[in-house]
Subunit: 486 residues, 2 copies
């Protein structure tokens, strides 16, 4: 009875969070410009309610739960919820509401600033947000540094020192592996109007398994995936009319996120049974489809056929080897979301260093543009022409997502390990990919990743799924085999 | 201090209602199909919260307000709120939530039923909704019949007998005035693709005063205007590629609604100071732009120029007299929103009679299709080929809006009186309309209608604005002058 009450309570929070997701999706897609101030208020009202329900009210309800009498799944759920509650109780409602409201305003001003290359327009909102997130880190507590408290939101228990230990060495090795052999011909480089690109993308992601009765795709300033509910997962993309790849690979990335959300358990909503595990697992899914599958030669053969089928005006006799070459060409570039699989992690490293320094109060928001450009120059050997192509490119900081970036690298390592495991598990993996038969992959992911919800830690799910703990070498092996090919 | 608390509380309710509007807008425009069940839950959660805030909590806050010490506007606001509170307290939270959830589900099934001419699919949801609305009417109480309790939502104090007294005689007179002289040539009848029609509409409504930084226009199954907040008012339309009028005049109608919402006071949000007065005033604004302005000869001259300017591929040397003839051609038709200004009110009369009989439990939902067709045949002399063109055509019942329809007729009478008043007030009214100079109309409406909020009753606003109480003859005079022309 008290368990029923708990689950009903969590479902109510789930619906409120769904609403918050819709408010956010709308803000990034269709909201009229001058609605932004009220949108921040709307999000604040929901944030306040959610905070109250998941602290004060939840604590009362949890008191009556006889945890030692519960069956396994229920016990795992209640344990996670208790862990969450302790964390949530540390954050005052006022702070939670303020972070939500300022994030909403900051995103609006970031978008404007990005469009007009106007960092100073965005800076005051970012400063405010950084100081609120520092306050949050202090409320949460930490061992080594405030930034670690925020990292924990996206990957439970992850510390800056883990990033330095696991990811940095890989990044350093990758740094040696840059290849500059530019492909002779890029089939993606031709004029295709926005509407035709979007129509193509909408057909293509259905082939990957995206279900339009439970989701949709729109345009936005920065591509994202937003799970409004388990039956309403929306992704966005953006389009360059002279480069189909720009849209396509960001769309595939977001489709990977969406497939995860659409594949979660659809009972016990609002509990860890039906929630995504972590951002690391989330990014492992998006990066898996974008890179491990999406940039493989068998996939290029499949893609070549689909380009000819869906865009016959623009594609005939597509050479899949040319696609493969273009998609795996390693060259430092300015924009993270467009970068190749190798230099991508240099982008992550520089963001990690900057946001860590910001939250640990070693640098200030004013220092960001110059430090950004300096790091891009050091790591990638190129210089952003302006802040739009530099510090303003990503949505994350404006949304208050400090500590998110490392999960892209970690997720990529997870993805590589999952990919190599699947390759060994299914001898005809490449053959099926070439045919566009992804059903067996969906099924395996559903059983081994999606259905686990948030009942286990990321590393537990990885180990259960692949039989091994995380091996960063898996990623290096995977990437080396490709780079050699180029 | 207690007044500040009241206003803050009402503003919180305002933001929650805004969220509810967005959920509803999204459901009708972009929501993926299978999201509908969760959408109903989301709407239910908000409805429950709003109900609690505007009953239990509001009652507590109002106790501390020294009403006799307040200045005029504050006193008017508090008096209205006290009146509302008494009404709201009569409805149990459970019922409010259930009506919201069932409406959301009913709308989904109505849309499907309409598309597939499948009334039985919709019938169980409508039956459920009707019984919930009867329950609501019984909670609210009434003098003559349950239906009157619902009429009051849309026009305070309106009774069925008023409709019979004011509107029916006009309808009967109109019934004699049907004209069947079909225009020789209809310039709207040509193929214009959806995208071009929408682009034209978006340009054209800006000329009427619609501000795209504070609103937008999308496509939906049934056109509507939805004020998410005072700075975020969204309208929708629908398109026939072979008849521009079908889209255009519904768009102008919704623009009229939107101009009202966008022109409301933007302080003291959530109080009657910044709320629309009633559905009657609302419909007076939409019908004013759609008909009194929109079907006038000077407007046709303006429209002719704009068609040539914005759609040069399709329009040149447009004859405004031809437009006028087409727009004022009186002929019974099946669809209310496409009907002329005369037979329109026969559509309203039949809906009034049916919904009154439903709520007063004189007929059942199963009887509706046959009764609908019978009345259409009696009043209009034509027969719907199926339910899609009959009982399924309007969204209102699926949204639980029983008692709304009479305000269309009443609003039209208000609009005619306002129009004739403006004609006498501004001798160059027609000249300015022809030029597309609507600024003086906006200003007059702002001062005399919009800015009054909900501090007065509809009839008080009309009388203050035009110097006269409602005269149904104004509408008859207005319409007769036009029909004679045909």
């Amino acid at each position: 009875m008290s368990l029923t009450k708990l689950y009903q309570h969590l479902e109510k929070i789930y619906h409120l969070n769904s609403i918050s997701s819709l408010l956010s999706w709308d803000q990034e897609t269709y909201m009229p410009e001058k609605a932004y101030a009220h949108r921040a208020k709307q999000m604040g009202v929901i944030a306040g309610l959610v905070h109250y329900y998941k602290t004060v009210e939840l604590r009362e309800i949890l008191k009556d739960i006889p945890i030692h009498e519960l069956h396994e799944t229920d016990r795992l759920i209640v344990q996670k919820i208790q862990y969450d509650l302790e964390k949530w109780l540390k954050i005052p409602e006022k702070l939670a509401v303020e972070i939500t409201e300022v994030s909403s305003q900051a995103q609006y001003h970031w978008d404007k600033a990005k469009k007009n290359n106007d960092f100073p327009l965005f800076a005051p909102y970012l400063s405010k947000l950084v100081s609120l997130k520092i306050e949050e880190a202090n409320c949460l507590g930490y061992e080594d540094c405030p930034y670690d408290a925020l990292l924990d939101h996206y990957e439970n228990g992850l510390k800056s020192s883990d990033f330095e230990r696991i990811i940095k060495p890989v990044v350093q090795q990758l740094y040696q592996k840059q290849s500059y052999e530019k492909p002779q011909h890029n089939p993606f480089h031709q004029f295709i109007p926005v509407a035709e690109q979007l129509a193509f993308a909408n057909q293509f992601i259905q082939d990957l398994g995206f279900d339009f009765t439970r989701g949709r795709q729109d345009l936005s300033s920065h591509p994202f995936s937003n799970a409004i509910s388990v039956h309403d997962v929306r992704i966005t993309t953006r389009i360059h009319e002279n480069d189909l790849q720009y849209m396509l690979y960001s769309t595939i990335h977001e489709t990977g996120h969406a497939l995860y959300e659409l594949g979660l358990n659809d009972t016990l909503l609002g509990t860890p049974f039906s929630e995504p595990c972590s951002l690391t697992i989330h990014e492992s899914q998006s990066r898996f489809w974008e890179n491990n599958i999406g940039r493989s030669l068998p996939f290029c053969k499949f893609l070549a056929r689909k380009l000819e089928e869906y865009l016959p005006k623009y594609f005939h006799n597509v050479n899949p080897y040319e696609l493969f070459e273009v998609l795996n060409f390693v060259k430092p570039s300015l924009i993270r979301t467009e970068s190749d699989e190798v230099t991508y992690h240099l982008h992550i490293a520089l963001r990690f260093e900057l946001e860590k320094a910001l939250i640990n109060q070693e640098i200030s928001v004013q220092d960001l543009p110059a430090l950004w450009n300096e790091k891009v120059s050091n790591y990638l050997g190129i210089t952003p022409p302006n802040d739009t192509f530099g510090v303003l490119q990503d949505v994350h900081w404006s949304a208050g997502l400090f500590g998110y970036f490392p999960t892209y690298s970690l997720g990529s390592f997870y993805a590589a390990q999952i990919y190599l495991h699947l390759q060994s598990l299914f001898p005809d993996f490449d053959e099926q990919t070439e045919k566009g038969n992804f059903g067996f992959i969906h099924q395996w992911l559903k059983e081994n990743i999606y259905s686990k919800g948030r009942l286990y830690f990321s590393h537990e799910i990885l180990e259960q799924a692949t039989g091994k703990p995380l091996e960063a070498n898996a990623f290096l092996n995977y990437i080396s085999s490709k780079i050699t090919w180029v």
